[in-house]
Symmetry: C2
Subunit: 337 residues, 2 copies
């Protein structure tokens, strides 16, 4: 099923469908996308989500064009923390700096991908007519592993077609979501005022991935205490870090604190470049992705093995208890070499 993108039908290029037409050629689509054709961007993202050879081809073309000046920002935190509103405000901050921005909203709990399916996205409609903003939701196509594999490819595509800032927002704080948000150049963790929210963040492993903390809805009671809780946890954090994550109080719905947040994000980016951490983090990230791809390919191999004649023979003897599971695995793997 082709996901529908509410946004892809707007902005420049959308009035001229002939530019991307019905093309499925990755190279041609990339050229159109770079020229500002939003339909082409949406189509390329759909191809990445579907996987297979077209996705690989896009990856081969996009990958060499990344790893430069782009800044990938991840934003995570419990549902209700106000991540979408923060994202919305940050889009404006980026736009004020004159740069184009891509937004990827990752929602493993939703079966739908596309442009503006999530209710929260509606708040970003203020940017819908801005050609410098491309917003896209990505959902679980089949399995979580697929999303974790597709997200970095989607980010690279947005960079390769001319968006030097990419915001990746995850809906919840599940393992995959934290992993995806944590693989950014700068990861923002949003919490709300209130007893225990900081502790919940710690439990979800957010303390480890955070480069910048946001206490959002800071007009509510308990904001100062939540900031203090976070600072205390950072004090107790055994690992000596050169960069201590700042804690910024915001009220994203009014825009209060967003200017300071944007400053901290730019500072973190500068620190990462100066310290060499950006280079190191990117290397680790690519090697981590490489490892996931390897494992995924091996899993595909297991699935392929499970349909052959040898499999049936091994399986029958296993179920008769003539051979044990390890001997069976050895036989099957030897047969495939």
């Amino acid at each position: 099923m082709e996901p529908k993108s509410k946004h892809s039908g707007r902005g420049s290029g959308s009035s001229d469908p002939a530019r991307s037409g019905e093309s499925r050629d990755p190279a041609a689509l990339l050229t159109s996308a770079r020229a500002g054709d939003r339909v082409a961007v949406g189509r390329l993202l759909s191809m990445i989500e579907r996987g297979g050879e077209p996705a690989r081809e896009i990856g081969r073309l996009a990958f060499p064009e990344t790893g430069g000046d782009e800044h990938v920002l991840g934003i995570t935190g419990a549902p209700g923390a106000g991540k979408s509103t923060i994202t919305d405000r940050l889009i404006s901050s980026v736009r004020e700096s004159g740069k184009k921005v891509g937004v990827l909203a990752v929602d493993p709990s939703s079966p739908f991908s596309g442009g503006a399916i999530l209710g929260d996205r509606i708040r970003m409609q203020g940017h819908a007519l801005d050609d410098g903003v491309f917003i896209r939701s990505m959902a679980t196509r089949g399995h979580l592993g697929g999303l974790a594999l597709a997200a970095p490819e989607a980010i690279r595509l947005l960079v390769a077609v001319g968006m030097p800032i990419v915001l990746v927002e995850t809906v919840g704080v599940g393992q995959v979501e934290v992993e995806i948000a944590g693989e950014a150049d700068t990861t923002i963790v949003a919490v709300n005022p209130g007893w225990g929210d900081a502790i919940q963040a710690s439990k979800a492993g957010l303390l480890e991935v955070a480069d910048v903390f946001v206490v959002n809805k800071a007009d509510r009671p308990g904001a100062a205490e939540t900031r203090r809780d976070l600072e205390t946890m950072l004090d107790m954090d055994g690992t000596m870090r050169e960069w201590r994550p700042p804690v910024v109080l915001t009220d994203a719905s009014s825009g209060a604190g967003i200017a300071e947040l944007w400053e901290r994000l730019v500072e973190h980016r500068d620190y990462m470049i100066a310290s060499g951490d950006l280079e190191r983090r990117r290397k680790d990230r690519i090697l981590g992705e490489f490892r996931r791809v390897l494992l995924w390919k091996l899993e595909q191999k297991v699935r392929a093995l499970e349909s052959g004649d040898t499999f049936r023979s091994v399986r029958d003897r296993l179920l008769d208890r003539t051979i044990d599971p390890y001997t069976a695995a050895d036989e099957l793997l030897t047969s495939s070499e």
Copy 2:
């Protein structure tokens, strides 16, 4: 490091160390273990936990002797639900029926394996001098995957050396623990009275694995409500099951309700045999294990790949962004064929 087994030094055979001696020969140890040598049983379990060729040899010898009349019972539930006390009572029930029983306490959160390290095990000391009872703790050796792989082998060993009833108790309700307990012939899920406990059980995926529910500490307020909550959730459960899990109220510390629980367990066993479900469940279990073993072997292969010359070359070009992660994975896998 050789895990110490407090139990393995007791009971028959322990007074004659020459019987198992320092032997590391799986076949010889199995013969001793079958003759009642508890030191040999403990040693075989340690070898299974350590893995490698000796573990495989034990598996090859033990596997064909399983899949018969044995009854494997899993017991899981949140910490504090009273699983150890229930297990303790069930040991007595089994012994009254005249059969030998093996008990495996699986604790992924503990780095220690062996006989009686967990505090809870102390309650089972009443059985420590009973030759018909063998109790053993199994912990995470290195990684959770290792425990999930070793547990079925340990269960089969206990069956192969003459224990037709095996109780597998998990300490918590983590994914691996639920998986291990859920792979029994009959799975008991223990909850306590109190608002929300039934819902927690549902969230942890316990509703799906339960064959028999126990509301333990049923002398406390709310037992009837918890039973009703469970019954309601079973009513709502969309999947039509022929066997509807009964809900038994117990107070394991006084022994109340244990006779009824034992009756339900025997009934489930009879149902499983008559319906053909036992055969089907065992087949699914073996195929599931086979799949895990295959994946584990492939992971080993990835690790091996990550140390060769090709890996270094591929890695360097990947980090230079000359090739993308998928192309890199293909190159590495092709080189290893």
